[in-house]
Symmetry: C2
Subunit: 585 residues, 2 copies
């Protein structure tokens, strides 16, 4: 009999046998190389039961393996138990990635099948053997496979018109010597057209393609007939500006009929579209990624407003949490997440959370990507550390914040870790650096306080964040990988060092920071960070002797600013409570 | 008439005209891509008068230009005055490098001549037009051009036999599927054969090539007949081990007759040899670079001894300097350099300086690569800062140290800069980091104290150093460029932040540090630095309030260690003086 996953893998092997495929690769991505795919493209989950955000599967006649990174090792081992699928670890020194693994087993006569829609053009070139690209490969096996999502499309107002953005793309295209550019990354498209929807959970995106040439703009977005008035209105406005709305599936026709030089986004074009594209093809990273990472004045103002509103929700939540738990009421991690969601939902312009809230008490928080269980979630006890990583999508911006709060007495180790992570957070927040500096050169500032104590964390220190778009966006970041993209004024990045002790607790202190100018002099042009997030850091778990005078000064000034900014909008009792929580140390 | 340089460029243009060359590139390197070439290959200096360590020249019918980096802008402008040669700046954001500059002016029909011996194989592939490679291109114009140097060759004892090293190379070659490997980098050859000479000033190297295959080792080293007994003895020992000694020039014959697969070092093979090589050619970075950067026990012990001896010389020098200047004796920068050289020359096993001593008082020190003038050198006054960057070559190791010392009263700015640079030095010296970390991720630790005060320095923070070899060696470094080479236990690197204020003063605090293990735990394997250099940091120019408690602790412990280690070997009055200089602050 076997589990449902064993049955599905067996069915796939039957298909492979009938087609003479030696191996099949099933990826965790969608036709747009999205970080988070819609239900239809959660193929890895359907096949193996693994729900992590990153994971690819290879099935051969005698092996089924899941490749995923250190964030998901524990989760993968649990979820793959009994499926016969083996875990292959990535982002570890001894990693053997899928192309190498296949190359060790298969020669040039082998046939390797992929769903060409769900792998990138670049990826297939790294594989051995003959590649067979089968769009929607799993369709025949997957009963009731969800369709392509179609949620209401509405207009966003980022202070820059879509015609200006299209103008930017045309002038860039000119410089590249291209006749047209196909945008395939969903956030690139949403940014360019100032449109939003909810086709992907937590991501306000519209599943579509956008083709721009000197003379035309074609948006491949239509699926089933449009029935809701919001979408009708948005589409009418676009048509009025001369934008042609076409069927989503017609992108294949448009590409196959291409005659000039078409620029495809090397970071998001899938193998299938690249393969069928006629004319001359130029694979170049989309210029939208860098352009949209640099927020304009309206977007920055919106982000400030979002952080004010979000901070008020956070403080209400933390006040409720502290008082409820200390009153002896039994609150589970799930209850807390729901409560926080309610505070956010009351904010004007709220469009949903920006990712699934991580609400984790004690050992659960030791998993950086913990998923709070809906049923039987652990109860938050009146001691130790509770970690909450969450964020909202608002019409005027996106937030992402982590607070780790003492629920009562903490151990010496908890306090030491809490303080060292905070030192790292502050070091990055206070950093001044020359224009041109990439984030990877600053990453060690946030880690050195931990490193000196022989401690570390296994994720990046900072990721870019979109304006009412994805909570993760490039091209900049602050992490160990040597990404050469410089930090530029207007970019918004997280500052989130942490520490994770298996079976004990986890700590992360996360704010969003805006890169800003800091003057020029004989030594060059200077940049710094301005913290956008507004929510106090609890000082009761701090060991003050571990902080320098400068760090204490930063912390006191930050907490004071949080109090001064938020208290006018808070109910009196919460304002009073926040005053005490933000007392200088 | 014109200057001698105008005449030489005019003569070169005549040659170009007669050969129908559109452009000639003259580089500052030698046939081995050495950082410091011997006199014979100081072609840029001969042609233009520019003496900087980095610079390439392009001459066309109507333009002569020198390309050099920010370290040499001021020097180049001075030295090029009246030559008609224009300065092209490199390592600046707006730089236009030689290949781009030529591509803007010349098309594929143009003829560009290079001395194929003095440009790398890689470099020529980046140039436009047809490349004409003319070995020794300047020979016909350069009367009395120096020959290839030939200094006595002797044996070094690094605790690892040349047969072991040849064995390492053969096994590496095997893994590469090559039949033979040609080592062309002079330090690779000196390391492999455990030989040294003085063919290049400050660099104990033998100008030669080394060809290793499974069955033979051929050293292309012979020039004029050998007459000195040291060389005879060394050569006899090599022959006894089966190493074939051949004429330097015969390397061309050997390469042109190659039939199997020959591995050439992509970092140091010149265009000419690459071009004439027969059989199959594989361009790969030499494995010797990484291997020799990781010092063995004997080399590390030798480096410790070298730093003890060198530290004694430094302390004697600083004692003499302080007392002589405060006694009102007129000492020039040059006098000081000579005196320091005398202290080093008295050390057993001294083989010369490891580079030209930078002895600079006040404004001179504002040039990171200042050359102390032999005639009319500035006098060291009893106030302000004196900077001395120097090092020695010893039979058992190589040193490189910079001390900046207050000669009396210092200004507030001098003290502030002195302290901030020291903070940066200490931050790097105290760093703990996970195994696998490249130096570029640590560079900001040494800069952030300066950055926060809107100050910076325009050179790297740390370079690798050889064991009785070049004072600069790769593959690791600690600098802004994103060099991915991890720091590995056994590597020795400098820690030398600085600051330079044009017209005022310059500060640099430089020690050599050894990368060592620092234990393993649940978070991974840890590395740290051990400071090798032994010479106190003067505390009188420090503003203690700018240092953290941890930094003060490091400084006091370092100065105490210097005193404890050196004082037993110092004359009583210097030991007494050093006691007072190393009092805890």
């Amino acid at each position: 009999m076997g589990t449902i996953y064993q049955q599905r893998i067996a069915a796939l092997r039957e298909l492979m046998l009938s087609k003479s495929w030696d191996a099949v690769i099933i990826t965790g991505s969608d036709p747009h190389c999205s970080e988070f795919p819609a239900e239809r493209w959660k193929q890895v989950q359907w096949l193996t039961g693994f729900t992590g955000e990153a994971g690819d599967v290879v099935v051969t006649a005698d092996h089924a393996g899941l490749w995923t990174d250190s964030r998901y090792f524990i989760q993968a081992l649990t979820q793959l138990a009994g499926t016969g699928v083996e875990l292959h670890k990535t982002r570890v020194p001894e990693q053997v990635l899928i192309p190498e693994w296949l190359a060790e087993r298969f020669d040039d006569d082998s046939i390797i099948a992929v769903d060409g829609l769900c792998v990138s053009a670049e990826y297939t070139s790294s594989l051995p053997g003959s590649i067979v690209s089968v769009p929607n490969l799993l369709d025949s096996l997957w009963d009731g496979r969800p369709g392509i999502p179609q949620t209401p499309v509405f207009t966003a107002d980022p202070g820059e018109s879509r015609s200006d953005k299209i103008g930017f793309l045309r002038s860039w295209l000119n410089g590249q010597g291209g006749d047209s550019i196909l945008l395939s990354s969903l956030d690139d498209i949403a940014w360019t057209l100032n449109v939003r929807a909810s086709d992907i959970e937590y991501n306000p995106l519209v599943i579509s393609y956008l083709l721009i040439s000197e003379g035309s703009v074609e948006w491949f977005v239509l699926k089933d007939p449009v029935e809701d008035p919001e979408t009708e209105q948005t589409f009418a406005a676009l048509r009025e500006e001369g934008i042609l709305l076409r069927q989503y599936a017609d992108v294949e026709l448009a590409l196959s009929q291409n005659e000039g030089t078409m620029v495809l986004d090397s970071n998001s074009i899938n193998h299938h579209l690249w393969n069928i594209c006629g004319g001359d093809v130029k694979l170049v990273p989309s210029p939208v990624q860098l352009r949209k990472s640099i927020k304009n004045r309206t977007e920055i103002d919106g982000m400030r407003e979002a952080h004010l509103q979000d901070g008020l929700a956070m403080e209400k939540f933390l006040y409720w949490l502290e008082n409820t738990v200390s009153d002896g009421v039994e609150i589970s991690e799930w209850d807390a997440a729901v409560k926080l969601g309610q505070f956010r939902a009351a904010i004007p312009g709220y469009r949903g959370d920006s990712f699934e809230t991580i609400s984790a008490y004690g050992p659960g928080a030791a998993l950086p990507h913990y998923i709070t269980p809906r049923e039987n979630a652990p109860v938050i006890e009146p001691h130790g550390l509770y970690l909450c990583d969450s964020g909202g999508q608002y019409d005027y911006g996106t937030t992402d914040i982590t607070r780790t709060v003492p629920m009562g007495e903490c151990t010496g180790l908890e306090k030491e870790d809490y303080t060292l992570v905070l030192k790292g957070h502050i070091a990055l927040a206070m950093a001044v650096f020359p224009a041109g500096t990439p984030g990877c050169r600053l990453d060690a500032l946030a880690r050195e306080p931990l490193w000196r104590a022989h401690r570390n964390f296994g994720h990046g220190t900072g990721h870019g964040i979109g304006w009412f778009l994805g909570v993760h966006e490039g091209p900049q970041d602050i992490r160990q990988n040597l990404n050469p993209t410089p930090l530029v004024p207007g970019m918004i990045t997280s500052d989130e060092p942490g520490i994770y002790r298996e079976g004990l607790f986890g700590i992360r202190h996360e704010n969003l920071v805006l890169c800003t100018e800091d003057g020029s002099d004989e030594f060059g042009r200077w940049l710094k960070f301005e913290t956008l997030t507004l929510c106090h850091f609890d000082t009761s778990a701090i060991i003050p002797e571990l902080l320098t005078a400068e760090e204490i000064e930063w912390l006191n000034a930050y907490n004071e600013r949080v109090y001064k900014t938020l208290s006018p909008y808070l109910p009196e009792e919460i304002s009073f409570w926040l005053r005490s929580k933000t007392e200088a140390i």
